[in-house]
C-alpha cells in the first residue's frame, strides 16, 4: 500500500524532472507530498521553475506552461508503467508553435521507448504533419459521423470544415 505508492512516487518524480527539462528546454521541477505525512492521505503538489524564472507552484504559471507541466506529469506516470494504448484529446490546444514542436518530439521519444499505440486527436496542423498516419472524422450527413483515411498532404482540407 504505502510502500508501493512511495516507490511509484519516486519513479514518477524522477521521470517528471527529466520530461519537464526536455519540454521546457531547461529549468527544473519536482513533485511533492503536501498536507499530510501519510502518502495515502497527502496531496500532490507540482513545483515548477521554467528557465530563467522563479520557482513557484503550478498555479502561478501561464496557461501554456501549466499545460506543458501537466503533459510532463502524465508521461512521467506513463513511463513508470507503459500502457498498450495512449489517447490524447486536444492536449496541444493551449500551446504556441514552438511548444507544439517540443510536444511532438516528446511523442516521438515515447513512441521509440515503448510498444504503445498512440491516438492523437488534434486541430493543430503542426501536430498533424508529424503523425505516422491520419484518420479523419467527417459529418457529411448532419449528426452522423464517418471515419475516413486522410492523405497527410490533404490534411489541411479536412480541418477546415
Amino acid at each position: 500500500g504505502r510502500g508501493k505508492l512511495l516507490s511509484a512516487f519516486n519513479q514518477v518524480n524522477q521521470n517528471f524532472k527529466e520530461l519537464f527539462k526536455t519540454l521546457f528546454g531547461g529549468g527544473s521541477s519536482n513533485l511533492m507530498f503536501v498536507e499530510s505525512q501519510d502518502p495515502l492521505e497527502a496531496g500532490l503538489e507540482i513545483m515548477c521553475q521554467p528557465p530563467g524564472k522563479k520557482l513557484s507552484s503550478l498555479s502561478l504559471l501561464s496557461g501554456g506552461e501549466q499545460t506543458l507541466a501537466a503533459i510532463s506529469l502524465i508521461f512521467a506516470v506513463f513511463l513508470a508503467r507503459p500502457s498498450p494504448i495512449c489517447v490524447l484529446d486536444e492536449v496541444d490546444a493551449p500551446l504556441d508553435d514552438a511548444n507544439v514542436v517540443r510536444f511532438c518530439r516528446l511523442l516521438d521519444e515515447m513512441n521509440s521507448k515503448t510498444e504503445t499505440r498512440f491516438l492523437i486527436i488534434t486541430h493543430n496542423p503542426i501536430t498533424m504533419a508529424r503523425m505516422n498516419r491520419l484518420f479523419g472524422v467527417t459529418m457529411e450527413e448532419k449528426g452522423v459521423s464517418q471515419l475516413v483515411s486522410v492523405d497527410l498532404d490533404r490534411a489541411e482540407e479536412l480541418v477546415e470544415a
Binding site: 508501493k4 511509484a8 519513479q11 514518477v12 507530498f33 503536501v34 498536507e35 492521505e41 497527502a42 496531496g43 500532490l44 507540482i46 498555479s59 499545460t67 507541466a69 502524465i74 506516470v77 506513463f78 513508470a80 500502457s83 498498450p84 494504448i85 495512449c86 489517447v87 490524447l88 484529446d89 486536444e90 492536449v91 516521438d108 513512441n111 510498444e115 499505440r117 498512440f118 491516438l119 492523437i120 486527436i121 488534434t122 486541430h123 498533424m128 508529424r130 503523425m131 505516422n132 498516419r133 491520419l134 484518420f135 479523419g136 472524422v137 467527417t138 459529418m139 450527413e141 448532419k142 449528426g143 452522423v144 459521423s145 464517418q146 471515419l147 479536412l158 480541418v159 477546415e160 470544415a161
Partner: protein
C-alpha cells in the same frame, strides 16, 4: 497486450458501423468541431468498462445510444467491439482461438449493458480485470479526455494524488 481495432455501431454519432484500425506508432485523428472525434475515445473507455455516464458527457448510460437526427430515427441499442492481441496475462476468463480476443459491450435501451469476451457473456468486473492486468483501464492516466489537463491543473492536490495510484 495490443489494441488492434475498435468497431462502433449505433454509438453516439457513429450510427453506421465504423471500423477504426489501431496501428503501431502515432495516429492522428482530425476533423471539424462536433464531428465525433471525442466520441471515439468515449467508445473505447465505454467498452473497457467505464460505468459513470457523466464521465462520457451523458446523464444516463442510454445517452450513448444514437439518439436520431432530422433524417434518421433513434436506435434501440449501441454496440462497441474492441479487438486486442498478444495477451500475456494468465487471468483470461476465456480461451482465445487465435492470438486475438474480442471484447464486446452492448447496451439496449432501458435494459442495461451486456459484456462478452470471445462471444461468452461475462461480468463487467471481468472485463475490467482483463485490462487491469495489462496496465490499462477506462480511468488510466494514458487516456486523456478533452479538458482533463485543465482539471489536473486546477484540482485539489489531494485529488491529484490519485494519478500516482495508477503507476503503483
Amino acid at each position: 497486450m495490443n489494441f488492434n481495432r475498435l468497431r462502433l455501431n449505433g454509438f453516439k454519432s457513429f450510427v453506421d458501423p465504423t471500423d477504426l484500425q489501431i496501428l503501431p506508432g502515432l495516429t492522428g485523428i482530425v476533423g471539424p468541431n462536433g464531428c465525433g472525434k471525442s466520441n471515439l475515445l468515449d467508445a473505447l473507455r465505454w467498452v473497457m468498462g467505464e460505468n459513470r455516464p457523466t464521465s462520457m458527457r451523458g446523464d444516463g448510460m442510454d445517452d450513448v445510444i444514437f439518439g436520431g437526427t432530422d433524417l434518421r430515427p433513434a436506435r434501440a441499442f449501441a454496440e462497441v467491439v474492441l479487438e486486442v492481441g498478444d495477451l500475456e496475462s494468465a487471468t483470461m476468463p476465456v480461451q482465445a482461438i487465435d492470438d486475438t480476443v474480442e471484447i464486446v459491450r452492448k447496451i439496449n435501451l432501458e435494459s442495461g449493458s451486456v459484456y462478452r469476451i470471445e462471444g461468452k457473456e461475462v461480468l463487467a468486473r471481468e472485463v475490467r480485470m482483463l485490462f487491469a492486468d495489462s496496465s490499462i483501464g477506462s480511468n488510466s492516466p494514458s487516456l486523456v479526455r478533452q479538458g482533463q489537463i485543465a482539471s489536473l491543473i486546477n484540482e485539489h492536490p489531494k485529488s491529484r494524488r490519485k494519478i500516482l495510484e495508477e503507476a503503483a
